[in-house]
Each structure stands twice: as structure tokens, then as C-alpha cells.
Symmetry: C2
Subunit: 303 residues, 2 copies
């Protein structure tokens, strides 16, 4: 085994072996989530997140006919794409819709994701302090590294998710849906609410474990959010079925080094084929997306 060494620029620069990153530990210390995201983007050479948003009606018939179809479908997608992705992101709504069994399928799916891949729980939770604490306990216990949170209730709803620097939160900033305009563009003194949220989240990043959700369907705004929050990781949904433009999203959403963006595709990968070749088709689409993103971000000057 070849052990490579590199520097981490924190308060006390350290040299540590690359392989230990997978265990999130160096010299007995935890690694901050956002440092880990940057390193994983480099190591895995991918910005791609696959959204595990499974709808039984869209699962290929040959899978639906057997036992445990939703988990088997997820397993098929993960097996076919694990070497290509940076992250998987189940959206909890799709599992809750399956009732009690759905919660168990979610737990098993998160457990099945191999070590060294980010596990993002797209939960969009948000509640008062004592209740947000319960959400954080429940969601991190499922094995997620990152949970998405809605900012409407303010800091109280975010605090329990950023206590531990190894895990963290992505705060909804500007979402990819059409009615994101209803309130996110509410403006005060020429400043939109979504930019206020971005500024505030920069302050919430004290432990290096806070990021933002910014939809690919607003490339101009994505650029403005990047100006406000130059170092935060962005989760960027909305390419593919939702119509967001990949080139604009990657160019505007990555940081100056072409990093710190996690670009999600759900339906485009999961349902690339509705036949027996669904896994191979998902792999092909994942590879196409990863390569396209890499070639776009390399134009920004990444070696």
C-alpha cells in the first residue's frame, strides 16, 4: 500500500495519511465536515450526488415482482454508481410515503452506502430548539453525515445539527422549484431573503460544517450566493428533470478552485432505463454527468 501524505491547513498544520481520511480521523482528531468534503471531491474526482428518491411506480417490473423491491432497487443503483459519485442523497419524503416499512428501508439503504461516500439526508426539517435536537438525534442515528434544514425558524433549528464538527447541515437558501419566488425573493433594502440566509449561514459555519442548498434553476442567483459565501459547500439540485442547466450550475456554483459544489441528479440517473438494464443505464448516465461536470469545472483552472 502506498501511503501519500499532505497538509491540512488548520490552526495546527498536520501531516497525515490519505487513507485515514476515510475513517474521518487523523492523529486522533476529527476532521471538519467541510474540509472532508473538499478532500473527497479531490480524491473521488466527482461532484455528483445521486438522489435516491424512489417511487415504486417507476421501479422496473422485474424488480417490483420480487421481495423488498425498493431496497433492491437502491442497492442496484448504489452498486452500479458507487465509484462515480461523491454523495448519495435520499429524500425522506419518498420513504415516509411507504409508512413504517419505508423508514426501515431508508435505514438499510443508508447503511448500505459504502464508507467514504457522503450520506446526505434530504429532510428539510426545521423546528424549535428542543424539537430540532430530536430531529438531529434521529437523522444522525440513521447514519447521515449531512442533513438539509429549512431556515425559516432561524438558528434554533440549525444549532443541534452543527454541534459536532464532523457532521453538519445544508441550509435551504434558494430552492429549485417554481414557487421559490413566493418568499425567497422577499426583499429588504434591495436585499433578497435568500441572500440574507446565505450571509447568516456563513456566520453559522463556525465549526466548518455548514453549507447551502441553491437550486440549479437559478444560475444568475447561484453566482451571487457564491460571492456571499465563497467557501461554503453548495448542494445544487434541479439539473435534469427540473430543467436546470448543468454548465451554468457548475460554473456558478463551484468555488474559485472548481470545488465545493455537490450537484444532484435524481430522476435522470434512477430512471435512465425502466427495463432490466436500469443499473447499467444509471451507471452510464452517472458517468456522463460526472465527466461533464469535471470538464466544466476544469475550465475554471483546476489542475
Amino acid at each position: 500500500m502506498i501511503i501519500r501524505y499532505f497538509y491540512v491547513f488548520s490552526e495546527r498544520p498536520k501531516i497525515f495519511p490519505v487513507d485515514s481520511l476515510a475513517e474521518k480521523v487523523y492523529f486522533g482528531n476529527a476532521m471538519r465536515l467541510n474540509d472532508r468534503i473538499r478532500q473527497m471531491i479531490r480524491d473521488r474526482d466527482s461532484l455528483l450526488c445521486v438522489g435516491l428518491d424512489v417511487v415504486p411506480e417507476k421501479i422496473p417490473p422485474h424488480i417490483m415482482e420480487g421481495e423488498d423491491p425498493v431496497f433492491r432497487f437502491n442497492k442496484g443503483i448504489i452498486d452500479a454508481t458507487a465509484d462515480l459519485v461523491l454523495a448519495y442523497k435520499p429524500n425522506l419524503a419518498f420513504y415516509e410515503a411507504l409508512g413504517t416499512e419505508g423508514w426501515e428501508i431508508l435505514r438499510r439503504t443508508v447503511t448500505y452506502i459504502p464508507e467514504g461516500i457522503l450520506k446526505i439526508g434530504d429532510a428539510k426539517r426545521g423546528d424549535i430548539g428542543s424539537t430540532a435536537q430530536k430531529y438531529a438525534e434521529g437523522l444522525f442515528a440513521l447514519g447521515f453525515d449531512i442533513v438539509t434544514v429549512n431556515p425559516y425558524l432561524g438558528w434554533d433549528s440549525v444549532a443541534p445539527f452543527v454541534k459536532d464538527e464532523e457532521r453538519g447541515v445544508f441550509v435551504l437558501c434558494l430552492t429549485s422549484n417554481p414557487s421559490s419566488r413566493d418568499f425567497q425573493y422577499f426583499s429588504s433594502g434591495g436585499k433578497f431573503l435568500y441572500l440574507r440566509v446565505a450571509e447568516t449561514a456563513v456566520g453559522w459555519n463556525e465549526k466548518g460544517n455548514c453549507g447551502l442548498v441553491v437550486g440549479a434553476t437559478h444560475p444568475g442567483e447561484l453566482e451571487r450566493v457564491r460571492e456571499v459565501a465563497p467557501d461554503l459547500p453548495f448542494l445544487i439540485p434541479g439539473i435534469g428533470a427540473q430543467g436546470g442547466d448543468l454548465e451554468a450550475a457548475v460554473t456558478a456554483g463551484t468555488d474559485e478552485r472548481g470545488e465545493m459544489a455537490i450537484v444532484n441528479s435524481s430522476r435522470g440517473v434512477l430512471y435512465a432505463s425502466s427495463g432490466k438494464d436500469f443499473a447499467a443505464a444509471a451507471r452510464q448516465e452517472a458517468q456522463r454527468l460526472r465527466d461533464a461536470m469535471n470538464s466544466i469545472r476544469r475550465k475554471k483552472g483546476v489542475e
Copy 2:
């Protein structure tokens, strides 16, 4: 059996028996949620909602020692208070924190709530359209009449919850927690975001099944929201442990007839005693709260 009759003031006034309300049906037609809430407040003579936010560490030891303690605790609270309340409101965070089993305890708890009492799922969900649809399916399938929703994503996240006029949504407007000020007071041209949300929700009430969540910890603002939304039902959390003043909340939160407010207490009722008498103590506290609310609202001129 005595059958009482009264009028429903809808497009076509109708006379129908009170008992059939429990089945949400009159002459084969569905009753709009908000009409039903008003009628239930009159029939049950109560504004009280008990929040079923169960934390295992606070369950009395004699219950914890047996099998299935969380459900048995909920059952004890429901049995002791069902004739005094208008609604029960489990907050989903407390069940999610218990893992897969928690989801099943939640389902059994909602099923156990007697007919004729409102079942409010305090979920504070909010997602893009296709995903919000999945949340609505999952939560209504659990048996809830009403689900709380976060407005940050706009109409898309609310629409699936108001399709059916018999069931509906309470939109977070001004929450009871300290950091509600972070974004809910963001102001445009002198208007705060929470008031814009209230105005918008009035427009979302086309089918008479949309309400608002307004915390008791802001009695002055509660009055302003009531001016903007004179007819909407309000869910008012934050009395008791959170410090909200009951008199101010009931006075400002009810409509001009002293109705359309659902006032929640969680910890104050659930943990009124930590001993073997927990159910009797919960009943005593529920009765005290119901009677206090009724005497406050009667000052507003309700017969």
C-alpha cells in the same frame, strides 16, 4: 338519542344532524376543514390541543418498566383527557428520534385518538411539488386531519396538502422560538415576512382548509396576524414551558367570536406529574387550561 340540527353557512345552506359531523359527512357531501374546526370548537367547548411530544426520559418509571412504554404513556394521556380537548398534536421529531419503531408508535397513537377529535401532525415539512406530494400522501395516510408545513418553498410545498377540502394545512407564520426573529421579521417596505406569509395563506384558503401557526410568545404580533387573516384557524403553540401568556394568546388569537384558535400545551400537560398519578395530573392540568381559555374567550362576547 337526541338529534340536534343546525345550519352550515356555505354556498347552499343545509340542515344536518350533529352526530354525522363525527363522520365528516352530511348528505353525502364533505365538510370543509375550517367549517368543521369551528363546529368542533362549539360542540366540544374547548380550544385545547395537547401536544403528544413524548420523551422517554420523562415517562414515569412505572410505565417505562413495562412493555411498549411510549404508546402506553400516550394512551394514558389520551384516555385521561379526550373529553376535554379539541385536538391532539404529535410532533413527528419525537417519534423519528425513536427510529423505525417510533414511526409505528406514531401510527398506532394517531389511530388510537377517538373519532371527533382533530389529529394534527406537527411535521413542519416543506419541499418541491413532486416531493411535497409524497409527504402529503405519507402523513395523511397516518390519519392526520391537518399537517403543519413550512412556507419557505412557497405554494408548491403547500398545494398537495390542500387538494382535499376535508383535510388541510397549517402554515408556519410566526413561530414561538427565540430565533423566530432571524428571518420571520425580515421586512420589506415596513412589512415583515411573517405578515406576508399570513396574507399569502389567506389566498391559499380557497377550499377553506388552510390555517396558520402563530406562537403565543408574540401576543402583539398575534393580534396583527389576526387582522390580516380574520377567518383562518390559528394553531397557537408556546404557552406554558415556552413562556407564552395564556390570556394574551387567547384574546389576541381567537376570531371576533372567540373561536378559530387551537391552543397547544405539550410539556405542561404530559409531565404534570412524573409519578403514578401522571394521567390524573394531566387531566387536572388539561381541565384547568380548557376552563381558563373558555373564561378568557367568553369575555370576547361568546354566549
